[in-house]
Structures are given as C-alpha cells and as structure tokens.
Point group: C2
Chain length 260, copies 2
C-alpha cells in the first residue's frame, strides 16, 4: 500500500469535466483511496458549482484547485500521466498499461517527483494537444468492443491501482534496479537526477519557439505543428533539471544574438 505522504504527491487533474455527477464520483473515489489533491481545468462553471455544493461531497472537492489551462495545472509536476484508450489513434508518447504502471510511479515518487494523473472530458477524452503535455499515456486495458470508460469508474480503477500496487521505493531499491536492469523501467543511470517540472519545460519550449521565429526556421503556418512536436520531444528527452537550465541559457544567448 502507498503511504499517505506519497499519495499527497499525486495530483488528480480533470480537464473540462461536464457532468457534476462525474466530478462528484471522481472526488468520492479519491476519498475512498486516500488521495486529496484535485485540480480541475477550465470547468463548465454552473456544473462545477453544482458538484462542489452537492450534499455529502468530500472535503477535497471544496479544496480543489481550479486552473485555466492544463499547462498551468501540471506546472509543478515532473511526471504527467495522461489517461485514455487508443482505439482511434496512434500514440505520440510511450504507452503503459495501467496494470504495468506501478513500478514507474514508485520510482518517480522515490526520486521526489510530483505526479499528475490526468483525465479528459467525458465525451472525447484528452485531445492531442492535451496529451502533448503528458510524458506517458496510461491505457486501461478494456475490451475493444466497449473500450470507453465512464469518468468516475476510470478514476476509481486508476486510483485503486496506484493505492494498492505502488510500493514505496528508496535509495536501496534504486540500487537494485541497477543490479537487475530487467526490472528497471528506464535505462539504468549513474544516479537519479532531478527532472525539470512541466512548467520549466514550457518555458524552455517557448524560448526555443521564439528562436525558431527569429531564425525564420519555419513558415508561420507550421508554427502550431512545431510547437506540438517540440512539447512532445522535450518530454521524451528525459532532460535533467540541470540540462534544462543549460539549454535555457544557450537558447537565450542564441536569441539575443539573432535579434541584434
């Protein structure tokens, strides 16, 4: 079982939920499995108010954070997990089945990361744009004939899995990963380096984009597509926080040169 102090480092993020019953159901599943940190992105205000004032709503709903964008919601997280099914599209980031997720989350928590578990709107799930903020796409293994889950039930299943199957790690188990690399979910490293937060990656991405424009690297029509690919790439690279700072310094210097 996951210790309480580590559950507090897992944010549940709902992107534009519509149905107040579903919001309530997610909050209830969080309370059932001992999670407390809820963020709601751009909710439909009347329904959001309704969910918060419902009779018997768990306290965590009253304390929920509200943000205008997903970027803002996950700013302080260093591992962002998107949820969804892949029936109608190809994933642009690594896909991990929910029942294989625990070792990866344990490792992230063990190295001090803050994690976000992101759920999309009821109707269509997370968009391609939303997913570009995610390091990993978590897939709940459902029947291909009925792949799409109800939001409250998907949250219950996801949180149950994290609560029961993530075993806390510490330095000694990180060492074990190096001895038995078969168990490791990432390449063994000399030491676990702190990773940049999602917000820091966004700052770097904006700067690189500015450089692209200044360098006339690509036509304006390509700007949106480049922004998307850049976001994905920066999350795939597994930069350390120090790498991020170095890249920031370099691109600032380049930009300054280009604009002279």
């Amino acid at each position: 079982m996951l210790p309480e102090i580590q559950r507090e480092r897992i944010d549940v993020v709902l992107v534009s939920p519509r149905n107040p019953l579903n919001i309530g159901a997610v909050a209830r599943a969080m309370a059932n499995f001992g999670f407390t940190q809820l963020t709601v992105v751009a909710p439909y205000e009347p329904h959001w108010r309704e969910a918060r004032s419902a009779v018997g709503a768990p306290e965590l709903l009253a304390n929920a954070r509200e943000t205008a964008s997903l970027a803002e919601a996950v700013r302080n997280c260093t591992l962002v997990l998107g949820t969804g099914t892949l029936t109608h599209r190809k994933a642009e980031q690594p896909v991990v089945r929910l029942d294989n997720l625990a070792p990866l989350v344990a490792k992230a928590l063990g190295s001090g990361k803050r994690i976000a578990l992101v759920f999309g709107p009821e109707k269509h799930g997370l968009t391609r744009e939303d997913l570009s903020f995610c390091h990993i796409l978590v897939e709940i293994p459902t029947d291909p004939r009925q792949p799409s889950m109800n939001l409250g039930q998907a949250a219950a299943v996801g949180l149950y899995e994290l609560a029961t199957r993530v075993e806390p790690t510490d330095r000694s188990t990180l060492l074990e990963d190096r001895i038995h690399p078969g168990i490791a979910t990432e390449e063994p490293q000399a030491a676990e380096k702190p990773a940049p937060t999602s917000g820091n990656l966004d700052i770097l991405a904006s700067l690189i984009e500015e450089v692209m424009v200044a360098a006339k690297y690509s036509p304006a029509t390509m700007q949106e597509a480049n922004r998307h690919d850049l976001r994905l790439m920066l999350r795939r690279l597994k930069l350390s926080a120090a790498d991020g700072r170095r890249a920031l310094g370099l691109f600032r210097r380049i930009l300054w040169r280009l604009k002279r």
Copy 2:
C-alpha cells in the same frame, strides 16, 4: 489477462439494486472488462425496467437473469464471493483483500468452478443473511475515513482486478502450488476434487434442518440462528461433491428413521 472463456464463468450478482444509474454503471463496467453474465436479485421493478431500457445500455443488460433470492442466483456456483467493507462488523467467513484475490480465483477457475461476485444494495451493502451464502468476503482496501464505495465504482474496480490479475491456471500450475506451498492459497491437496454447488449445499442444509426439527434438537426460537450457522459451516468445510452426496444420503436415512 483472463481469457474470455473464463470470464464467462464469473457471474456478477447484484442484490436488490435501487438506482437505475448504478445498475447501468455496473453493466458498463462489465462490458468494459469483457464480462457478460449478470444476475439481478429481487430488483425494484420500475428502476430495473428503466435501467434495461436506457439509451446505450450494454447488451448484457437485456440478457441479464432475474431471480427472487440470492440462494437461487448463486445455485450453480461453487465459489461465491461477497463484497463489502468491515467497518461496522466482524466477518463470519474468511476475508480476502481484493488485491490478494487473483490466485484464489485462478485456482477455482482452473478446477472448473463457476464463480459469483456478489454486490449488495447501495445503502447498506450485503446483509449478514446474504453473506451466509458466501464462501469468502472480498474487501476493497479503502480509506477508513471514507470506506464505502459507490456501487458502479466498486464493480469497476473488482472487475478490473479480475480481468488483469487473474492468470489462467492448468494442471501444471496446480502442481507448482504443491511444490511451493507458500504460493498456494489453500492447503495443498492430493488432487483438486470437484466442490458442491451453492444449490447442493442449500439442499443439504435444508435436510439437516429437517433432521434437527425431527430430532427436537433445538427450540423453534433457535431455528433461524441454527440455519444461519449451518449455512456458514457448510461453506467453511470445503466438502467435495462426493462428501456432499454422502452426507445427503446419511441425513436422509436419519430423517426416515426419526419419522418412523
């Protein structure tokens, strides 16, 4: 992952569900995780009709079986799993945490058993009487501050666990249980004997009760309590089907003698 043919040997049983939305949610979770066999016990008719006729209701809801009693619903099952939390009572049968359930279910399926996963009404869950038909009480490990789960979410979590964590067993893995008894969930046995169905146990229990009455074993005021204890005991004994037949023969003989 659990093969489809084995999922068909797991019945989902809802005892007196009230809310049509919850019935629909359970059916949806079943469809998501590839389960097809739903039985509803003594439903509130108007709500049951409403749930079945809902737009987008999975096909399995139209094909659901309806019974008057839980005894009838689980008659053909040889392993009956009740669900619930233990906050306010002491269990009268073995309790297994949901995340430890898979090996036990795999073994039961491997020896040809039919299984029922039973959920109680929304308000109070399974009664003591309902639980006396269950071999095992399955507990979803929830936070003691908010232990009670929504019916649709509890079903989703339970079915996700069975679908992803039950690995099919065959003769060779049963053998392995004997070599590594630490893995086995029951005592290792010379061979896996067929178990009596819940219906056969009920027939035996009725007969023993008749014998008790004929023998003036206990006052009429104790009859209900004796019936309850008898039901629990017969499920705890792990009789083989042959043991059951032998006991039936003996008590028939005793009854015939007593009534002469």
